[in-house]
Symmetry: C2
Subunit: 229 residues, 2 copies
Amino acid sequence: MNSDMNAEPAPAPAPEKFSRAKNRDQLRSDITEQAVRLFAECGYEGTSIALVAESAGISKQNLLYYFPNKLALYQHVLDEVLDDWLARMSALDDDSQEPADLLRAYIKAKLRFSREKPWGSRVYAMEVITGARVYASAIKKRVVPVLRQDIAVFEKWIAAGKIAPIDPMHMMFAIWAMTQSYADFSAQMALVLNRKQLTRRDFDVAETVIVDMVLAAVLKTVKDESTEV
Amino acid sequence: MNSDMNAEPAPAPAPEKFSRAKNRDQLRSDITEQAVRLFAECGYEGTSIALVAESAGISKQNLLYYFPNKLALYQHVLDEVLDDWLARMSALDDDSQEPADLLRAYIKAKLRFSREKPWGSRVYAMEVITGARVYASAIKKRVVPVLRQDIAVFEKWIAAGKIAPIDPMHMMFAIWAMTQSYADFSAQMALVLNRKQLTRRDFDVAETVIVDMVLAAVLKTVKDESTEV
DNA sequence: GTCTATAATGGGATAGAC
DNA sequence: GTCTATCCCATTATAGAC
C-alpha cells in the first residue's frame, strides 16, 4: 500500500527515531498481516491478541486501540481476504473470448491466489468449515452474486452449444475446491510429496491437471457428441 | 477397568435405573461422538472439554477420567476419523475391473464419507489447514502409503495405455479436494444453493459432475488420441 | 467411577496516567 | 497513541472424599 506512488509527492516520510513514522493505516495493516497468518495457523480461539500484537511489534493494549476487540479484528481480516480474492477473480463474462480461454484464466487466477495468499485462504476456509457463523451474511452479499453471474455465463455457453451441458453450480464448486486445496491442504500435500512446502513447479503441474480436467469435461460432448456415455 | 467383561459371556447387560449400563467403551464412544462434532464446529481451542462432557451427559471431571487430557481426546478423535476413512476407501488395485469403474467407485466412496461423516471430515481438514501440527506423523504413516499405492495403480494404467498420461498425484489431490469439499464447505454451498443444508440429491449431482470430469480427463487421449490439445 | 472443591493459568477487555 | 496496572472470567487440570 504505502509503496504505491500517490498523486502528491510524499514530503519525505519524516523518519522519527527509527521506523516510528507509521501512521494509523500502516499500523492497522501490519496488525492485519500478522493476524491473518496467526488465525490461519492457530484458528480464531487459538490465537491470542497478545501474540498478534507482539508479532506486529506493539502491546496488546495498543492493539485494542486500533481494533475495538478480537472479533472486530477477525472480521476485518476476513474482509481483507475477500476484497483481495474478489479483486483477483477474472470474469468469465467476456463474449470476445472462447470458454476454454476464459476457464483457463479463471483457474490460473484462483491458483495464483492460493499460492500468493495461502493464509488468507485458510482463514476463510476455517470460517466456512466451522459453519460461517460470523461471515455468512457477507458471503451471501458478496460471494453468492459473483457466483450467480458466473453460472449465468455457463448457462449461456450451454444454450449456445459451446460447452457440454454440465451442472454449472457443481462445476464451479469443483473448480473452487481443486484450486483452493493447494492453499488449504498444502501441509498434507507437502507430506505426500516429501518436501517442506509446495514449489512453483507443483502449482504449474496443478494448473495443467485442473485445466485438463475441466476442459475435458466441458468440451466433451461438443467434440464427441455421438459417443456420450 | 472393572466394568470390562472378561472372557466369560456377559450375563445380561444388567440395566440399572435407566441407561446406566454403559461400560467404559460405550461411554468413551459417546464422548468421542460429541467431541468430533464440537471440534468440527468450534475448532480445537474453541471447544471446552466441559461442553463435550455436558453433551455426553457427564461431568468435566468424569470426562478426564476417561481421557487423560484434552489433547489425548483430540488425538483419539483424529484416529477414529482416519480409521473410518481408511476402512471405507475402495481400493483401486483390482485387475479384474476397468479404470473407469474403479474410479467411479472411489469417488462414490469418498462422497459417501463426506455425506455421512461431515464432522469427521471437518476436524481432519482443520488439523491439516493449521499445519498438521499434531497429526503429521500419523498422516505420514497411514495416509501417504495408501496414496502411493493408488498412484502406482495409475502409473500401471498409464503404462498399459488404459488411461491418458495425467499426473497421478495431482489427479488424486483433485479427487480428494472435490469430494471432501462437500463436507468441509457445505456451509458455503448451502448459502449459495439457498437452503439449510445439502440434500441427498445435491450429492448425487455432485457425483455425476465429479465422475464426468475425472473420466473425461482420464479417458481423453485414449478415445481421442489424434486431436489432443 | 463419580462427586465437590480448588488450584493455576491465560486471555479479553477496561481505567487512567502521561 | 502508548504505557502500567488491574479486573474478571473461562478453562484445564488435580486432589481427595465417597
